[in-house]
């Protein structure tokens, strides 16, 4: 009982997608989380709500609007066409964009929680010792909030691996480009290939279980706060 070439392609594609999305998300989510953790602006409520929307919306709704926005007649689609990139739906790049939006709250919130728990004191102390803002971020904030960043990365990765609805809407089902594990499983089931579906599904169960176990084990070791 081994994985078929198509299965392996799907697994490889999924891991590639999750890795790229996680790295992008850490870059995008950190400033958003920083702003949310520190602002007294009235925009904090609305921005928090927008970031959290993917938590509650059906993936199909999100996928539908992304499809419209990224499509040839959507604002983003027109922009990408004008830039010579072409339209994003049904491409790997489109899948990355959609996944970044879909997994955003899972990465923003742990980082935001960790930054809020730190408070402003460590930053003040660093400033009074002559450390500038970037110096403070990399040498004080990042090490102190590290558990939050780990949690954020693991959740972002795992959530991207597990998505299905948005992928189907925005990526379709193109082998090697947009057919990730969850879609591959769906195809197997549709084709009544239960054995193949089992292999991939069990793999997902074991993967998710191990990820969560590591996360909780790590958190206990840190004696840290709940970040989920």
């Amino acid at each position: 009982m081994a994985l078929s070439a198509a299965d392996l392609t799907a697994v490889w594609l999924t891991l590639k997608l999750a890795t790229i999305v996680t790295l992008l998300l850490l870059l995008i989510a950190t400033p958003i989380a920083w702003w949310l953790a520190n602002t007294h602006s009235r925009a904090k409520g609305p921005v928090s709500a927008v970031v959290a929307l993917p938590l509650v919306l059906p993936p199909s709704v999100l996928g539908f609007y992304l499809l419209l926005a990224l499509g040839p007649n959507g604002p983003v689609g027109q922009l990408t066409t004008a830039l010579g990139i072409g339209t994003l739906p049904f491409t790997f790049a489109g899948l990355v964009v959609a996944s970044v939006i879909y997994s955003l709250p899972f990465v923003v919130q742990p980082i935001q929680n960790a930054l809020e728990a730190l408070g402003k004191r460590p930053r003040e102390v660093a400033a009074t010792l002559g450390a500038g803002p970037w110096d403070t971020f990399f040498n004080v904030i990042l090490p102190l909030a590290r558990p939050g960043f780990y949690t954020a990365a693991v959740l972002g990765f795992a959530h991207t691996v597990g998505e299905f609805g948005v992928v189907l809407m925005i990526g379709g089902n193109i082998p090697g480009a947009t057919r990730v594990i969850s879609v591959q499983i769906y195809d197997h089931v549709e084709a009544l290939e239960y054995t193949e579906a089992h292999i991939l599904s069990i793999g997902m169960v074991v993967f998710s279980f191990i990820v969560l176990m590591l996360l909780y084990g790590f958190r206990r070791q840190q004696g840290g706060r709940k970040l989920l």
């Binding site: 004191r121 460590p122 003040e124 102390v125 660093a126 400033a127 009074t128 010792l129 002559g130 450390a131 500038g132 803002p133 110096d135 403070t136 040498n139 004080v140 090490p143 102190l144």
Partner: protein
Amino acid sequence: MTQDLHARFALDHGSFRLQVDLTLPARGVSVLFGHSGSGKTTLLRCIAGLEKAHGELTFAGDVWQDSRHFVPTWRRSLSYVFQESSLFDHLTAAGNLQFAIRRSRARVEKKESDDIIGLLGIGHTLHKLPHQLSGGERQRVAIARALLSKPRLLLMDEPLASLDEQRKQEILPYLEELKSHFDLPIIYVTHSPAEVARLADYLVAMKDGQAVASGTLNDTLSRMDFPLRLGEDAGVVIEGTVMEKDSRWHLDRIGFNGGQSIWLRDSGHACGTAVRVRILARDVSLALNPAEDSSIQNHLPARVSAVGSDEHPGLALVKVMVGDTPLLARMTQRSAERLQLTPGQTLWVQVKSAALV
């Protein structure tokens, strides 16, 4: 260009307003003294640039803030000791000190850092993480860290407030050492009259967001209209020298400005040591004649400078000058009336007790 620190701030936080305009000397310890909520910590944070108020701030000729510029905290040559432990939890004590040394405003020689570590007695803590240290040790490491960043101004916000009495007594001598060891101006926030007596050279009394009195320690403390209620803590602090030791009776003679001296319990200090003596108003009484038959040993000739009322309607506060050293005496209004005290009158003060601080 003046070397002093000049601060003019206005800050409105709704229920709390800060409104100050003051000049602090660029040497010695300036204490911002006041009850909680008086704005002393807010003022210190404004000086550090951690809080943004409208106004101006210059230190030793550098403009740190005016209507157009605001120098961020990390570009101001200051460091700050916070009220509670502020060590970085992810670094050992040595790591915390290294953090300061790497970013210090002037080169830190190895000998210098060894001196500071020795002075604060933290050599044994260096390999430990902050949570493995006692509260007193953490605060000493924080003070050492502040010194190692080589600031031109040290700000301390009630550095002893989070510690119990025993730890306070453990740290105070280090602070005194620091004062005599480094030529570093310090602005120190406290609500404790005992810390004022021990450390202050210059005193600013804060009340409702305003500096209501400021001046050298004794000018301020001996003011009849000192605006803060000190109650039993009213009194003066005088600087003196151990002149003579009487080993039979375990007494020291402390001489002070103007050639006068008083006898105190032996403090263990050698002859010639400079000491501070705190004389509370309640321990000073007045007599028209030198009372040879009194149990009180310390009789000094004095001149009445002012007579006023104390916080309690039955009590009077009298300021007398012994040479050019002011003392405060507290007595009942009836006693003051019976002695017919008037400014300029000469009489004798009796100091019942006084404490070295």
